[in-house]
Symmetry: C2
Subunit: 458 residues, 2 copies
């Protein structure tokens, strides 16, 4: 069985044991159990705890051997010193895959930790059981979430249960939850999110290969500290990027950063220059911060591909019209002066003090004339010298339905900068719910559009 | 009377007429009236409207001449064509200052608009009445807010009424409200916010001079499209920066951006290189986006000045420990490996798998041990090889009281990266309320700390 086939089985587990399941609120053994239950997982769940008869109403077992039905997947959240014998028990029981949540392995930098991790690797290779982690938080799929520390308000949970096109891997467990939440607020849906931790057995490259083949995944994103085998990484990613984009936030680019990565997951980071060169060779899109990774994800997941780099800007706030134009040109896009014909078409309905040169400055009259947005979008859509559209709104709610309808009717890629003030996004906006890429600042939209344009027109 | 003295009189007006006061919700003539009332302004308010006896319970007058008491300040929100005769009436009445909210002047680019603006300038210089705008939204002071479009939820309004140390000017009116809101969410308080618009009479340089002399203002920030007199700007700003920092977001740096600025407020932007050189010569801190201006404002307004560039990082999320270290070094700060002595002091209470090299990686055990944060801060405070501290928290609420108490007790500058997920800031956080600089991403904190360090150690 190939690594990818084994991963498929693990991600489609029909029965999951939570070893170290706990009643203690906040404990990973409780959070992962709750995560699994609340995700709507429809298989069998076996909490394993030597001193509990039941946890949250689910029958518990003292150990995995006392479960008489087959178990596909074990989630292990016990102290590091107890992990090895439990892994052996799991392998004997015929468990296909194990997730080791526990920390206390190679990342310690001690002989004991390093040897313990070696033993994990030996068990995996000798038994054929696939192991994710150690020092990881599990995975999230629309149907099965074993990701502790992922309490989900109803609005977001609804989005997470929907199938999406983004597949993500991360060597930081905590970042998975942070990233899912931020992306979900912008309406992104996921095929898979994987916390890979120390990667004793399954590595980033295995997950990359899996996501490359996964039909649900159209965009691959990654928090990466380091890979062990640069050549394989290059080969695998090079084969994927012609079919789907890979966006990577590589951390540990500096001396202090790579020292931190080493103590975090035992990763050999550093060599930022080499990684940069490999990414360029493989046509990987590199993000230089967590925010950039999130912003690029929104663009690549939700936005149509532009055919060229000429952007039309429609803005109600004049200050952000200037900022959007500046940002587009700074990031390599072109904001051409609109043609006489287009300008004339705009002047038919816009007030005479609105600039129609590009940016199109609607001024605050847009509040009383929300139809200006779709009308301008339609005019830009008809202009064959414009490839994509950035819309900046200066107030919340007024324009949403007009913009949603318009984006559905035109062909060109559209990004919206939502700049409400005195209101705060506690749930996805109406635009995000409609699958329209939205940003809080014009610079974020421009940078993301530039990355998408570069990938799309390459 | 000097320009600065005249501005002082205008900002301390005891009576304000709103000319074009309106009952229509959303109309600038209604918003500015409400802004003034809700700001708690304790002077006299005169709504001027030829066809209303009262507006929102306040007695209205048909024109300014029919007000028999003296009027210090007029806020004018009528169509552009009616502005000139109204200005003349105001001058005859002895009004000290006028704010022209109306658009339809130089920014139109038409002969009519340009001539109308010239006439505004002539009235100002011939009568001695000071004029702000046209095409501006007014000003905000802790006691007097005539800034339309600034509806304020109670939490934010409370902050805005408190006196603060930030004085801001902006050629974009809309950006004032956006900026105030974002900064207020981080606990920043303002001395003054001024929307300068087309600057027919009072210019950015006048406001800069005023803020330079204003004792309440410790930090000056600015959204700038362009100045008319580069030499004066250099002279005035050069005299201020040794006493207080000036942070400027200069827009219109690109061809498309400067075209947008011209149609926005008639500003001659462009010449980004020249501006950059002037800023460097005057020791002005340059921000390259709205977000950077906001982030730098938080740092300069709330954070103590670091004595050097050596940063200690304390993080619970491992991924953001790596990101913070990377970002600090990328922006020119130093994240040194901690000394044996400091490392030993940390190892006394931290779990053995916590890295104490720098970043200090608390791991998720911090959730159960929130005192780790203040304990680590105390150790770093005692280390004379560390100049400032960045704290990253991975969950909301748990640590707030510990961190607030600790920041109050130590001497070194502290910035906090607050990364709660599944919760959203709808009001200032407990840390922001306590005046601690907070950021949503480690890169934002690092970049802001770098700017502050560079200014502080120069």
């Amino acid at each position: 069985m190939s690594r990818t086939q084994l991963l498929k089985q693990i991600f489609n587990a029909h029965s999951v044991a939570i070893i170290g399941a706990s009643r203690r609120i906040g404990h990973p053994g409780h959070l992962s159990l709750m995560g699994l239950v609340e995700s709507g997982f429809d298989g069998k769940i076996y909490p394993i705890n030597p001193s509990a008869k039941e946890i949250d109403g689910i029958k518990a077992y003292p150990n995995i051997k006392s479960v008489h039905e087959p178990v596909d997947l074990a989630f292990i959240a016990v102290p590091a010193a107890r992990v090895i014998p439990i892994l052996r028990e799991c392998a004997e029981k015929g468990v296909k895959g194990a997730i080791i949540n526990s920390a206390g392995f190679k990342e310690l930098g001690t002989k004991e930790g390093i040897e313990r991790e070696e033993e994990v690797r030996r068990i995996a290779s000798s038994t054929g059981m696939g192991i994710i982690g150690p020092n990881c938080v599990g995975f999230h799929r629309s149907s099965t979430s074993t990701m502790p520390g992922l309490p989900q308000p109803a609005e977001i949970r609804a989005i997470l249960k929907e199938k999406g096109n983004v597949g993500m891997t991360s060597q930081s467990g905590w970042f998975c939850g942070f990233y899912i939440h931020k992306c979900a607020l912008s309406g992104v849906r996921f095929s898979t999110v994987i916390s890979s931790g120390n990667e004793a057995d399954f590595t980033t490259i295995d997950f990359l290969e899996y996501l490359g083949e996964d039909e649900d995944t159209k965009v691959i994103t990654m928090y990466l500290e380091g890979v062990k085998d640069g050549k394989s990484f290059l080969k695998v990613s090079k084969a994927i990027t012609p079919k789907k984009p890979i966006i990577i936030w590589k951390v540990g680019l500096t001396k202090a950063g790579s020292r931190a990565a080493l103590s975090h997951t035992g990763s050999l980071a550093g060599q930022g220059g080499i990684y940069g060169a490999v990414f360029r060779q493989a046509h990987v899109v590199q993000a230089f911060s967590s925010k950039e990774l999130i912003d690029f994800t929104v663009a690549f997941s939700l936005c149509r591909k532009p055919k060229g780099n000429r952007v039309g800007i429609i803005s109600s706030p004049g200050g952000f019209a200037v900022a959007a134009a500046d940002a587009c040109e700074r990031f390599g896009l072109n904001v051409p002066r609109l043609s006489e014909k287009t300008s004339k078409a705009l002047k038919k309905f816009l007030p005479r003090y609105s600039s129609t040169l590009n940016p199109i400055d609607l001024t605050m009259t847009a509040i009383e004339n929300p139809q200006f947005y779709p009308e301008c979008m339609e005019v830009l859509n008809a202009d064959d010298k414009i490839d994509s559209i950035i819309v900046v709104t200066g107030a919340s709610g007024f324009y949403d339905e007009f913009i949603v309808k318009s984006v559905g009717e035109i062909e060109k890629p559209v990004m919206v900068v939502l700049t409400p003030y005195w209101t705060v996004e506690t749930e996805p906006s109406a635009l995000a719910k409609a699958g329209i890429p939205t940003y809080a600042y014009p610079e974020e939209a421009a940078k993301s559009l530039a990355a998408l344009t570069q990938y799309g027109t390459k």
